[in-house]
């Protein structure tokens, strides 16, 4: 089966529809599927729900889809650093569901693993627990959280082979593997597609079974907070 496509637009062909639910990888601006987000912006698909840890910044990441009012709802753990997001949220144009970060990651992982719900102690006794089933295991309360199954996963990896085996780089891995797992269809963008057989099978982070479509492209990989130390003082 052919997985490699020539462009982000071609890779998304036939997959996008208004009102769909998309799971996206990335943490802050690190490891985000920037090419696929740009292609979704160009496709103009509307009323999107995103499960994504963050919402990008005003002009990068999911932020570009907020500018064009394509997003209906965000499921995220942290949404600072985005003025347009806050404006739309406070004016009621945008729905927001806060999930604790680990709960969001596990919801994606579980959904992709055929687990429709799980109990966690994260959020017990807080607003997050409101309306959720509480169950006591060995004297400790846990709340029921649901697995996520998305219509589409969009993911960024470092390298892939043509069968979709993926290798991530440093902390750009973050939400990408769980996001990839929870989509009915998963489209991945990478910096480099290498020949089949050139990746060490023991060093593959996510096997190609999770990957349906694949593109290679040039990435901006913007840095959100450039922090450095002085060579003299070190």
């Amino acid at each position: 089966m052919k997985k490699v496509y020539d462009s982000a637009t071609e890779a998304l062909d036939g997959l996008l529809f208004d009102g769909m639910f998309i799971a996206a990888g990335g943490f802050g601006l690190c490891g985000i599927p920037e090419l696929l987000l740009q292609a979704i912006k160009e496709a103009g698909t509307k009323d999107l729900t995103f499960a994504s840890n963050n919402a990008g910044v005003d002009d990068f990441g999911i932020g570009i889809l907020l500018q064009t009012r394509q997003v209906k709802k965000m499921i995220s753990s942290y949404v600072g650093e985005n003025a347009e997001f806050m404006r739309q949220y406070l004016s009621g144009e945008l729905e927001l569901e806060f999930n604790p970060q680990g709960t969001l990651a596990e919801r994606m992982r579980a959904g992709g693993c055929g687990i429709p719900g799980f109990y966690t102690k994260t959020g017990v006794g807080t607003v997050i627990a409101e309306g959720k089933e509480v169950k006591n295991f060995e004297g400790q309360d846990y709340i029921l959280e649901r697995g996520i199954v998305a219509d589409l996963s969009i993911v960024k990896a470092w390298k892939a082979d043509a069968t979709g085996n993926l290798v991530f780089r440093k902390t750009a891995r973050n939400f990408n593997p769980p996001a990839a797992m929870c989509g009915k269809v998963c489209v991945v963008e990478v910096e480099e597609i290498v020949p089949v057989g050139s990746l060490d099978p023991d060093m593959i982070h996510l096997p190609g079974i999770y990957v349906h479509r694949l593109i290679q492209g040039a990435h901006e990989k913007r840095i959100e907070q450039r922090t450095t130390r002085n060579k003299e003082s070190a």
Partner: protein, 207 residues
């Protein structure tokens, strides 16, 4: 007289023992890394890294290498990377020995509030709720009172909680207190602070 930010961080560093895996929050907790000395401490960054190194030299920033505060950082020889589900698996599973976190309010029963002020801009809890629910020991580092002089160490939190009954130890500019049955126990007063002054600045029950 009381402890300043760096003295609070230095005091918090005394809580860490050789071999610990630790998660440090944003703000004063980040400074704790400067005071671990010769102790063999491995720092976790919940976006998917164990063995967090210092900020890079200028020109050596890597956009694929950031901490949970989205700042550029570096790796160490011991560094390991993993995905977010694995990262919070080790947090929720109690593998991280301790988290040192900031707070807006703490209560005598160990309740912690540090993510939301109703009516103000809410940015989200990030990984804080998972950390306080899962790690072995939760140590809070905060100012003892607000800018208006009101105690932040309370009988009951007034703000929405991050976790219920999760705090083990509180380190403030005025001293160190432990959450024990019935209230808080004074462990230590900061340099130049008397026990009477510490009690007077604390709304919570001291036992």
């Amino acid at each position: 007289m009381a402890w300043d930010r760096n003295q609070m961080a230095a005091r918090a560093a005394q809580e860490l023992q050789d071999g610990m895996y630790v998660n440090l929050g944003i703000g004063i907790p980040t400074l704790v890394a400067n005071y671990v000395g010769d102790k063999d401490i491995t720092l976790q960054s919940e976006n998917g890294m164990l063995g967090m190194g210092p900020f890079p030299f200028e020109g050596e920033e890597d956009s694929d290498l950031i901490n949970a505060g989205k700042q550029t950082i570096t790796e160490l020889p011991r560094t390991a990377y993993f995905d977010s589900a694995t990262s919070f698996g080790m947090i929720r599973g109690g593998k991280i020995a301790a988290a040192i976190l900031g707070a807006m309010e703490v209560a005598e029963n160990g309740d912690l509030a540090n993510w939301m002020i109703p009516g103000k801009l809410v940015k989200g809890m990030g990984g804080a709720m998972d950390l306080v629910a899962g790690v072995g020991r939760v140590i809070v580092v905060m100012d003892h009172t607000s800018k208006h002089g009101e105690s932040k160490v309370l009988k009951e939190c007034t703000l929405p909680l991050t976790g219920k009954g999760v705090v083990d130890r509180i380190i403030t500019n005025m001293g160190v207190l432990d959450v024990v049955p019935g209230g808080l126990k004074i462990i230590e007063c900061a340099e130049g602070v008397t026990e009477d002054e510490l009690r007077a600045a604390t709304q919570a029950t001291i036992v």
